[in-house]
């Protein structure tokens, strides 16, 4: 188990290094000189020179890369050119919106999808299955940001149960903050849960055809007992993969949903940074998102090993 974890950890480290190289290459090498790019065509030569030295552009590319990475490891993400504040602090503030939103949505999506998928699989071909499958077919087809707009229309504008947007901050009380994240989380979660429910169902149906399920029935387990005791854990393996991938979608998708609800999360930050050509902020946020995806994959790999003893045995 430890060996397996170490191996995954090594692979995590390699992925991070390569991903950071890619991001560095795109942001700091592709546009030519980042300083003049950020300042635009009409910038004064001395302003450009000042920014160059501020960004540390007067050293070699390799050195710049190492400085960037070294800074991030220490928690120093550089200073935003437009806001004149440390990028690390800005990101940390925004993460308190984006991360809870993604986790909230992930929890909702799982809570909805598991029962729906198990229910449909247990009633394969019957009206219950058809209904769930029909609903998921529709759920998969709905763009989450449009769904978000419809939720606003119904629950905020017409029914007035929720506010149409904005975020009071966690200091104003946990439940209030959670409430303002509820509509966005539902908008994110429902389409994802449709996908997850379909995967859960088909994965369970695959397992139901396995020989060991017949062995379980031959022991005297009822259909339902066999499904719960032997089917579920085996079916979980493909489902975990999807949950891992979904977290990436939820974090990225959250960026779009934040626009609908005017939430002060990473999404707002990055779009402002793009229009202000604040490459330092863009670079850091992108690296953070990619880091999150890679980290979640690592966790999913570990979860595999917890579920499947065959993986623990292999290195």
């Amino acid at each position: 188990m430890l060996r397996y974890a170490l191996k995954r950890l090594l692979s995590l480290a390699i992925s991070l290094v390569v991903a950071s190289l890619v991001i560095f290459a795109v942001i700091e090498v592709a546009p030519g000189d980042p300083a003049s790019f950020m300042l635009g065509i009409n910038a004064q030569p001395d302003t450009v020179a000042a920014l160059r030295s501020e960004l540390g552009l007067d050293v070699s590319k390799a050195e710049r890369y190492l400085n960037w990475i070294g800074g991030m490891v220490r928690g120093d993400f550089g200073t935003s050119y437009t806001y004149r504040t440390p990028v690390g602090q800005m990101i940390a503030d925004r993460m308190w919106v984006s991360l809870p939103l993604a986790l909230y949505a992930l929890a909702l999506s799982t809570i909805i999808a598991f029962p729906a998928g198990i229910y449909a699989a247990a009633r394969r071909g019957k009206p219950g299955d058809m209904a769930v499958m029909g609903a998921t077919q529709l759920g998969v087809a709905v763009p989450n940001f449009w769904f978000a707009m419809m939720l606003v229309l119904v629950f905020a504008i017409n029914l007035r149960w929720f506010s149409a947007g904005g975020f009071p901050g966690w200091d104003e009380g946990f439940w209030l903050a959670l409430k303002s994240l509820t509509l966005p989380a539902i908008a994110l979660a429902l389409p994802q849960s449709a996908i997850l429910a379909r995967v859960m169902r088909s994965s369970l149906l695959d397992i139901l055809g396995e020989d060991f399920m017949r062995s379980a029935r031959a022991k005297g387990l009822s259909r339902r007992q066999a499904l719960w005791r032997h089917g579920l854990r085996n079916a979980l393996i493909p489902v975990l993969t999807i949950i891992g991938m979904q977290f990436a979608f939820l974090l990225a998708g959250g960026i779009i949903i934040e626009q609908v609800f005017f939430l002060p999360g990473l999404g707002r930050l990055i779009f402002q940074a793009i229009s202000a050509r604040d490459l330092i902020v863009v670079e850091s946020v992108v690296m953070l998102l990619v880091f999150a995806v890679i980290l979640v994959n690592f966790i999913v790999d570990l979860a595999y090993a917890a579920v499947d003893p065959r993986l623990r045995a292999r290195t």
Partner: protein
């Protein structure tokens, strides 16, 4: 007194009639074998008895266990009986166990769902049962996972699961078909002992008449969902009233009429000290690479006109050796020479045309999207100047006729053919460029006995008409014995014995060969059947 009585059982799934008026009974302590070829309905009879049929199945008649009609029981009642009153062992031990649960948990589950035993008591009983089936818990702790065990060991776990509560009836559906002969013998012995010890009735489903004859007290022979004959084992083999029983018996022990060997001492295949290693996955992150030696210093020669057999159990390296001879995999040392040219992945394809192969799986051997003509002419790729137009059509027709098919079959797709016909097509593909040596890699292993007999006859005929040499690779000793002149016995990557086939079989020198021959079940020698 009977334990199980099946009366007039008929079963249909949709429009298909699977079983027709099946009736037989099993007494306590009795072993009844249900035998027949694929499609005979023998497995469905077993599943019907367990009431584990597909939902769309409709049954008529009665299945009485004691005096309870299983067909009249509700599903919860059946659940209470399965595992407690009747247990079942399946064919595929590799997949019959849940991969994510320990063997202890899986055996204990049978106990815990039917009794009120505490966990400790159940654990004690599971330990007892596993020890009884030959997995003593000091060497095989309850915390083992299925993937840590071999096929034979897993089958023992499945048996322990099935008998944990000493059911009155045990059903075994081809319990040894997926196992090697030596393992098969052990599992069959175990089942026999358990029947005596527990006084269980055993319904044994198998296609193998030799196994049947050694195991069963009584035999039920089935074909197309009907019982054609049943009776006491000895009496049934003595009399064989029904022609199908006789045909089945004849096909099981089929002897081909192999033409005299045309001894020309000209070597066509020479294997010299061949070594093939596989890299194993690293067990530690920075440990040096470990190798598995699949083929270890093997040497042998096949001369023109010779028919050589290669026998060995699974994992002995015979498939690896085949691939190396076909030039699909490199050797680490040694050499393989065919027709005077060294074989290897970089070899000139034209030089390979003297050597062709027929594989085991009649279903996986063909591209499902191609027609027969395209499939069997694929080896033409090896020729510098392949025939075209009429010459090509003539070659196709000739090859198809040679294997007993029609020239018009060339325009059909592969799914239009049965398993036996597909194996004929595979042979036609090997024959079409008139090779001197064909490798038959378990080429009859997936076939029913009657089809197998026909294909073996075809191979003998071709050896006569085409003056073929071949290397016949099989795990089945009886088949190798009839179609080869010389035999090589392979174990753990090495050839432990070789010699004239009849000599090796009647007077085996190496202990492994002796074990193999002793373990292989044999058909009884009986009056009418032998005639």
């Amino acid at each position: 007194m009977t334990l199980l009585r099946i009366e007039d059982l008929s079963l249909s799934i949709g429009p298909h009639k699977i079983l027709k008026n099946v009736s037989f009974s099993i007494a306590p302590g009795e072993i009844v074998a249900v035998t027949g070829e694929s499609g005979s309905g023998k497995s469905m009879t077993a599943l019907a008895t367990m009431q584990l049929l597909p939902e769309s199945a409709e049954t008529k008649g009665a299945i009485l266990l004691g005096d309870l009609d299983l067909l009249a029981q509700t599903e919860p009642q059946l659940c209470a009986m399965r595992g407690k009153d009747m247990g079942m062992v399946f064919q595929e031990p590799m997949t019959a166990l849940n991969p994510v649960k320990t063997i202890g948990d899986q055996v204990m589950e049978t106990i815990q769902i039917h009794t009120t035993m505490t966990r400790a008591q159940a654990e004690e009983q599971a330990r007892e049962m596993l020890t009884r089936v030959g997995l003593p818990t000091d060497r095989f702790p309850l915390s083992r996972y299925p993937h840590e065990l071999s096929g034979g060991q897993r089958q023992r776990v499945v048996i322990a699961m099935a008998i944990a509560l000493r059911p009155r009836l045990l059903i075994a559906d081809e319990p040894t078909t997926a196992l090697d002969v030596t393992t098969q013998a052990q599992i069959l012995d175990l089942l026999k002992e358990l029947v005596v010890e527990f006084g269980m009735g055993l319904m044994m489903i198998t296609h193998d008449l030799a196994v049947v004859s050694e195991m069963a007290d009584r035999i039920v022979v089935m074909r197309h969902g009907e019982i054609v004959e049943q009776g006491k084992t000895r009496a049934l083999f003595e009399e064989m009233k029904h022609p199908y029983t006789r045909a089945l018996f004849e096909a099981s022990g089929h002897q081909v009429n192999l033409p005299e060997r045309a001894e020309v001492p000209e070597p066509i295949l020479e294997v010299r000290n061949a070594v093939r290693d596989y890299v194993l996955p690293r067990t530690q992150l920075f440990a040096p690479r470990q190798y598995h030696r699949a083929v270890n210093e093997i040497s042998f020669t096949i001369h023109h006109g010779e028919r050589v057999g290669l026998v060995g159990e699974s994992g002995c390296g015979k498939s690896t050796l085949t691939r190396a001879i076909l030039g699909l995999e490199p050797l680490q040392s040694g050499s393989i020479t065919a027709f005077g040219q060294e074989v290897g992945p970089g070899q000139n394809p034209a030089l390979r045309s003297g050597l062709q192969v027929v594989f085991q799986d009649p279903y996986g051997s063909f591209n499902p999207r191609h027609k027969v003509a395209r499939i069997i002419t694929e080896p033409f790729h090896l020729m510098p100047d392949p025939p075209t137009g009429e010459a090509r059509d003539r070659a196709i027709a000739e090859a198809l006729v040679a294997v007993g098919l029609q020239p018009s079959d060339a325009g059909k797709y592969i799914h239009e053919f049965s398993g036996g016909q597909r194996q004929r097509i595979a042979i036609a593909r090997a024959l079409i460029i008139r090779p001197e040596l064909i490798i038959f890699d378990e080429a009859v292993s997936a076939l029913d006995v009657s089809i197998r007999a026909q294909i073996l006859d075809l191979i003998a005929d071709l050896s006569r008409s085409h003056n073929l040499s071949y290397l016949f690779i099989s795990h089945d000793l009886s088949v190798v014995r009839t179609v080869t002149d010389r035999v090589l016995v392979m174990k753990a990557g090495e050839i432990v014995e070789q010699g004239e086939t009849q000599e090796v079989f009647s007077n085996p020198q190496h202990s492994y060969t002796q074990t193999l021959i002793n373990a292989a079940p044999v058909l009884p020698i009986v009056g009418q059947g032998a005639a």
